[in-house]
Amino acid sequence: MAYYMGIDIGSSTSKGVIACDGKLEASHLLLSGVNYRVAAHKLAEELLAKVNLSMKDIACTVATGQGSANVEFCDQQVADLRCCARGIISIFPSARTVIDVQGQYTQVLRLSEQGTIVDFTISEKCASGSGRFLDIIANVLQVKLEDIGSLSMKSQNPVKFTTGCAVFGESEAVSRVSEGVPREDILAGVHEALAGKISALVSRVGLEERCAISGGGALNTGLIKRVEDKLGVELLVPP
């Protein structure tokens, strides 16, 4: 019986799992903060504490994500694109397209039957194509990140953002707030803009069904609905 640890140091959150014989033993999530090295150690400590193990019990640790280079205790680093591909195909063997909405980027992958990456594309070096855009606007509107998706679904009259830039988008949201535009309409506009960018990325690699969504964006029901509407497919959402 061997334990394995997986650590994902993302730009916004760090996630970790411990598995044994293919079975999930523990999972943990915390904010990455400004020091990825500290986040990695803290994550491992808290993760191990959950199952009453120590690092000596771990046969192999694999690190991924933006901050994977800071996981000094890992045995191997693997690109998050590959981890995403393997993870999705293990949950959804029928998935051929994956939309991975992260804090820093959105990436779209096309998978083979074996789960290898046939093609991929990543949003430009710009926050407007990532989960960070939602984060910024949620902050302006003082709405919890986990609530923005459902709130956006209540909109009757979505705002149309005139900019494709998250920084200008923030200014625009502030202006709409001062004009008295309801929060749900502003949120609906932001979700609409992000869904538009995501569907363009999907078009670039070509949509092949079935299509799954992962990353923080997979927790946002409002975003999922809009992406489904734009692509005309039902997305596979991990449990």
Partner: protein
Amino acid sequence: MTQETKPRALNRLKSMYALRAEVDRMYEGGVEASEEGKPVAWVMLEGWSNAILNAMGVKTVFPENYSSLCAAQGMAEPFMERSEAEGWPSHLCGYARASVGYSARMVDVGGKIPPEAPGGGMPKPTLLVASGETCDARFKWFQSLGRFFDAPVWTLESPSPGIRERLSSETYERNVQFLIKELKAFVAFLENLLGKKMDWDMLEFTGGGTNEINRLRWEINELRKSRPGPMHTRDFWSVMTAALFRGAADPEVIIEGHQKMYDEVTERVEKGIAGINRPEKYRMSFEGLPPWHTLGFLDQLAERGWNFVIESAYRPMRPRTVDLSMYDDPMERYVRRRYRSLEESLQEDYEPDEVEAIKNEIIRDGTSSRLGLKHISDYQVDGVVLHVLLTCRATSAGLNLLQRKILDVLKVPSLVIEGDIIDASAFNAAEALRKAEAFEETMDHYRKVRKELGMPW
């Protein structure tokens, strides 16, 4: 105790260093000429003026190339910041921004070379020679540089017809006559400015030297088709200045340097030696202009077994012999020796059946994607890196279409990397490496696809 050290990822050609030194000598020559009171021209890469200027005894230096030299030495940023302070936008071509900043700094220090200038710097120009070729920024950029120094600027026009029009023999002949007229006007301008007559015999020498260098470069590139690829793209980029800006140095020295390079690459082919000190896992092509600020990125990829065996920019043309016996006019000889029709290029590079297919596509669609695919199949590459430049529409527009065609026709995938030629802040090496790791899986996949389809590699 001896410690084992891992060899460097790149296996650089010894002959490259001698040619690279000629680039430094080119800039040193410009400074020396200026100090001796001889004329120095700042020249834009356009292929026609340099041999003429050298034949007139004018030393030439190249702001575009000098900007890349600054970037490679990590010295471009202060010049770009200075250009922003002069009011130039940050989304303008990096070559232009760095040279504008450099010029502003020259004015600061009384027309002298700024002390922070790498490589000895470029001296104050006697004149500038611009060109409308390649992109729109180049029209206005040199005019602005000229104003810093109150120096005359000559914009050399050269015909840039559409691809469909280039198939027409009438267009070709009209372009030849246009070039002769334009270049003669340029010579008249120089004679008036410098107060001396053109040395036509010298033009025959400098122009002829150009062709010989081109021939050697072509033959070296032919050798690069071997497995493993004997010469890495970084070596090609290191010496391209010596080749493209050849007239600036003594052509015979540059020819000799390329002959030595040809011999060294031949030896590598015979012995099966690669351009990287790692097993050649992936044969790569680099499409677009180089990331001059972070060339070491390619070394990091070489660590992973990526061998860049060919590149799209600065490639030589197939050499040819032209019968000039019926032309007495030295300028006409100069033009006809170098300017070739599209029909002629196609006949040289493709099989007859494919020539017809390409021509039909050009007539029907205005272009043919086959023109951009040939080197991918000739060099049997596993993957293509597309360098999308945020500040260069001329080289970046169309890369997405090329990416699709390469995949559809040749089953070769492409990795898009965003960046800039000069501005390091537009490039994220860690992010690019992250993509590269995932891309290996994609290249492996398409290797299997090509095998299943019975393709040759």
